[in-house]
């Protein structure tokens, strides 16, 4: 499983490239932001960024599943914890069913045009 998604707060004032709106991530990571002009952004990233990103409690790491997988394969406790974490970001989405559909639902909270198929994250 290479590419993964993270819900991440946005920082910056956007007034210049040096103080841009960007995901609140430390420098030294490779990522691609799916959308960017809201208070939250869905960030996609690839290995080897995951260990660092998962340890960042300011983020919500979405499960390491393929888009075709089902969230129902995860333990109930894990799905409940995921829903609770998303709720802290104001995202009320049921963690069940097809993972691709779930990603799209989360993405659409921040961008009505979100489509998970078009996201990308490059390997180093």
């Amino acid at each position: 499983m290479s590419k993964r998604w993270y819900v991440c707060p946005v920082e910056g004032d956007g007034k210049s490239a040096e103080t841009c709106f960007r995901p609140r991530l430390s420098a030294g990571l490779n990522w691609s932001a799916v959308l960017t002009d809201r208070a939250l952004v869905l960030v996609s990233a690839s290995e080897p960024q995951h260990a660092t990103l998962r340890s960042n409690t300011a983020l919500c790491a979405l499960p390491a599943l393929q888009l075709s997988d089902s969230l129902d394969s995860l333990p109930l406790a894990e799905r409940t914890a995921l829903q609770a974490k998303l709720a802290t970001f104001g995202i009320a989405v049921q963690a069940r069913g097809n993972f691709g559909t779930f990603i799209r639902m989360v993405g659409k909270v921040m961008d009505s045009n979100f489509n998970e198929i078009r996201t990308d994250a490059k390997e180093p």
């Binding site: 956007g14 490239a17 841009c20 030294g28 932001a33 959308l35 002009d37 996201t119 990308d120």
Partner: protein, 223 residues
């Protein structure tokens, strides 16, 4: 493909960028949203920043045939300890601070892709790459409606589907940092090339049928 900007920055040392004219479509104009500060200058037939406090943005005179084009430039980090945050633009508006901006940020050794929209900068992606001093790196910003991509030495490093800035605009440079003759980011071989415009010349239209029929981007089939 039609190259509408080509500049090797060959000129006398110290020549200000807006007093220099390159090979093709490369008369440079300071962007009206910036313009306060010391002009960026030619240095050993490369371009470098000369103002450590202010960002300066310039756009080239060459006009793209459409909204999809590549902007390519060679970056050389000259040995030194200074900081530099310079980079280059595609779809740069000539009136407002809007476009897609690709920056190499020295302090964190990252390539960063931004959307500038009416002066509001949003980072779309990031790629970490330490650069070896006095070595050339060819950076290409591929600007298509579907994606904006960074390639470094031909390898794709950042990809974003953002297309909020839709006007063709111009190719340009944005320079800020503490570059000197012996330090900082020095830029060379600036070019901008239309994607999928002139390669169709003289080809029977029927050859493109599969491109349309397959639902794939036309440019992707003919490049």
């Amino acid at each position: 493909m039609a190259t509408f900007v080509d500049d090797t920055f060959t000129d006398t040392d110290g020549t200000a960028l807006d007093a220099h004219t390159g090979e093709t479509g490369a008369a440079w104009t300071q962007h009206p949203s910036y313009g306060v500060g010391t002009d960026s200058v030619i240095n050993s037939n490369r371009l470098r920043d000369a103002d450590s406090s202010n960002a300066l943005v310039y756009y080239a005179s060459g006009v793209p045939a459409g909204v999809e084009y590549d902007v390519q430039v060679t970056l050389r980090r000259v040995a030194g300890g200074g900081q530099d945050f310079s980079g280059f633009f595609g779809r740069l508006s000539t009136t407002v601070d809007s476009g897609y901006f690709l920056q190499y940020r020295v302090d964190v050794t990252e390539w960063r892709l931004f959307k500038a929209d009416g002066g509001a900068y949003t980072q779309l992606g990031s790629y970490v790459q330490g650069l070896t001093n006095d070595t050339d790196y060819v950076a290409r910003l591929e600007v298509k409606d579907a994606t904006k991509k960074l390639f470094v030495d031909g390898v794709e490093r950042i990809s974003s589907t953002n297309n909020d800035i839709t006007a063709a605009g111009r190719a340009g440079m944005r320079l800020i940092g503490s570059a000197t003759a012996s330090d900082g980011s020095h830029w060379d071989n600036f070019s901008a090339t239309d994607i999928g415009v002139t390669t169709t010349r003289g080809m029977p239209f029927g050859h493109h049928g599969t491109a349309f029929g397959g639902g794939r981007p036309l440019a992707g089939n003919i490049r």
